[in-house]
């Protein structure tokens, strides 16, 4: 029967090739489309890999009148410690860390200074990037970013002054400029809080308590991400006292909550496809394939009407002919699927060499643009290779659906063949 099926497929190769190509194209489109959608979702998480978390919380604040001394990164507002504790206690939160990002305008230079708890998850992530030296052992020790150190001839063990405080360089850390919360200098959180608390210019525009922070990183399991985000939104909506707008148009006092989903929205509108939409498009493609294959099957049955009559005359039961037809359809489905899979692998290899650009919201790695010759340099973009890969589950699901298309076509063919009476062959001779 297999040899018979192969011979039949070769005889009407053009028609069957159309089926194989249709199935192949649908397989290619479905696998590539789903892989692209997954890749963009995955890409949206990449900026978070530097912070050991997947939710970032900030609060919009006022612009200082006097740009000098220690200021909060403009225009962020302090977040009270009480809120940090509340968020830590939310069901589904695995871990959280908080930091304080400052702009320090000293008479001779400008520094971005971040106050970090070197023992929490963000601090540990930062410590892992130390290229020289070690984690600061005391409040008077700091980490300096490598590029900043090179530009300003800062060396390990050297003393530098920040807003009148003297610090010893304990380590050099490699943190690229486009990472979230990229800074020139990393100090102990409490030291940064003390510097901020004592800054008159800062206290003029915001009420800063010595335990406040201005950025929170929350690490949540992927399944709980949506629920925790909603929960945080609920908490911060009760604590805001919103007045006025920041220069970026955000409401002063309101909170910004960044998640992979919020990044996903700005990566690509073309491939920002929800799971439902992707599968809906896939379903349409599968139905289209089923219609084309069924139409060709109908044409084949009409052309082979006489042949099926002969088979019945010589003693083939309907089930024997059904097996023959199913075998022919299965061979086409398998050939089409393998063709589509091979094409998908090529497409994914090609796509994996393309890059995706992710704009990091300015507040997350704020730099005073007025200090730059070209203010646009303050905009930060991360460029990553598109993290696209062939998902075995998608391949398996596509195969199952393609087989279902084949089965549906088989049933349709069988239904037509069962109605055929062998005597009709003789009458139409």
């Amino acid at each position: 029967m297999f040899r018979y099926a192969i011979k039949e497929l070769l005889k009407r190769s053009k028609l069957y090739l159309l089926n194989v190509i249709t199935i192949g194209l649908v397989t290619l489109m479905v696998i590539t489309l789903n892989s692209l959608a997954s890749a963009y979702r995955e890409a949206a998480r990449l900026p978070f890999q530097d912070i050991q978390g997947n939710i970032i919380i900030q609060r919009n604040g006022n612009v200082p009148e006097n740009i000098s001394g220690v200021l909060l990164s403009c225009s962020l507002a302090p977040i009270p410690q009480e809120l940090v504790s509340k968020i830590k206690g939310i069901d589904g939160v695995k871990d959280s860390s908080a930091a304080l990002t400052l702009w320090v305008f000293d008479p001779d230079n400008f520094k971005r200074v971040s106050g970090v708890n070197f023992q929490d998850s963000f601090g540990r992530e930062l410590a892992a990037k130390i290229t020289d030296g070690s984690v600061p052992a005391g409040d008077d020790q700091i980490l300096v970013e490598k590029t900043y150190a090179q530009k300003n001839s800062v060396e390990l063990g050297k003393e530098i002054t920040i807003s009148g405080h003297h610090f010893k360089v304990a380590g050099i850390v490699r943190a690229t400029g486009n990472e979230i919360m990229a800074s020139d200098v990393y100090v102990n959180l409490q030291t940064a809080q003390e510097m901020a608390y004592q800054s008159q210019n800062l206290q003029k525009v915001e009420t800063f308590n010595d335990t406040d922070v201005n950025i929170i990183f929350v690490n949540v399991g992927q399944t709980a991400l949506e629920a925790v985000t909603r929960n945080i939104e609920g908490i911060v909506s009760n604590t805001t006292n919103n007045t006025g707008k920041t220069p970026l148009g955000q409401t002063i006092g309101s909170y910004n909550i960044y998640t992979p989903t919020s990044f996903e929205n700005q990566i690509s509108s073309l491939f920002h496809l929800s799971d439902r939409l992707t599968w809906f498009i896939s379903l349409i493609l599968f139905i289209g394939a089923a219609i084309i294959v069924a139409r060709n099957a109908l044409r084949t049955i009409l052309e082979r009407r006489r042949e099926f009559g002969i088979l019945k005359t010589v003693g083939f039961q309907n089930t024997d002919i059904q097996h023959e037809m199913s075998l022919e359809i299965f061979i086409q489905v398998l050939a089409g699927f393998l063709l589509g899979l091979a094409a998908s692998v090529i497409a994914i290899v090609v796509l994996s060499r393309t890059t995706v650009s992710i704009a990091i919201p300015w507040e997350l790695t704020a730099y005073p643009h007025f200090l730059l010759a070209n203010p646009n340099e303050a905009n930060v973009t991360q460029t990553h290779l598109l993290p696209i890969k062939l998902e075995p589950l998608q391949v398996f699901a596509s195969f199952i659906i393609i087989v279902a298309v084949g089965l549906a076509t088989s049933f349709f063919s069988i239904w037509r063949i069962n109605k055929l009476r062998p005597m009709e062959v003789m009458r139409h001779e």
Partner: protein, 222 residues
């Protein structure tokens, strides 16, 4: 000799026309029977009914002690596979299969090895003189050779009865004569009952008995 086919009060209507109208007759085991009649007299329909390819409206058809009128479509298919051979006017070979595969076609649904299948087909091919043409395709054969393939296919399961519908209709008279002689030879050597429909008086006269049909009824039997 016992009856291998027994037809009793058989009626078949197609549309509004009674194609077979209440006919009864018997065919003896090993008989070479010709059915004659003008076009539209019901010859092909009768052959289809006797072979279980068509369902009767009324009456009974008993072939090899089995009542075909009470059998399901699948039971009839199995019955045809082992008990009935059928030869068509236009050969009806499968164009994608070669000679040996066409002969072995009725064995395809059975779970037997390819070797055994072709061994059996080879024996029948030898009996009809096709050993030199086994790997040829139908379009590479003459009309007479194609009909011999069709006859070999009808014999692969050593059936009790072979039905032939105008087997010489598409052949020249000389080739037609060779085919009839082949059927005659099989009838006498293998003791297979042959029932053939023919327009040709010469062929009909060479048979053991002739049934003449007219408007679905037996007009003459001798």
């Amino acid at each position: 000799m016992s009856n291998i086919v027994a037809v009793k009060q058989l009626t078949k209507t197609l549309g509004n026309i009674k194609v077979i109208d209440n006919i009864s007759f018997n065919i003896k085991d090993g008989e070479f029977l010709a059915i004659q009649g003008p076009s539209g007299s019901g010859k092909t329909t009768l052959l289809g009914l006797l072979a279980g390819l068509e369902k009767a409206d009324e009456g009974n058809i008993v072939v090899v002690d089995k009542d075909l009128t009470s059998m399901t479509e699948d039971e009839l298919a199995i019955f045809r596979r082992y008990n009935i051979g059928f030869v068509f006017q236009s050969f009806n070979l499968i164009p994608t299969l070669d000679v040996i595969e066409n002969i072995a076609l009725p064995l395809f649904p059975e779970h037997i090895s390819r070797k055994d299948m072709f061994e059996r087909a080879g024996k029948v091919a030898k009996a009809v003189g096709l050993m030199e043409r086994l790997d040829h395709y139908p379009n590479e054969l003459s009309g007479g050779e194609q009909q011999r393939v069709a006859i070999a296919r009808s014999l692969i399961n050593d059936p009790k009865v072979v039905f032939a519908d105008e087997p010489t209709g598409n052949l020249d008279s000389k080739t037609g004569q060779v085919v009839i002689e082949l059927l005659r030879k099989l009838n006498s050597e293998r003791r297979q009952t042959v029932v053939l429909v023919t327009h040709d008086d010469k062929i009909a006269n060479a048979s053991d008995r002739i049934i003449k049909l007219l408007d679905g009824r037996i007009a003459n039997e001798n």
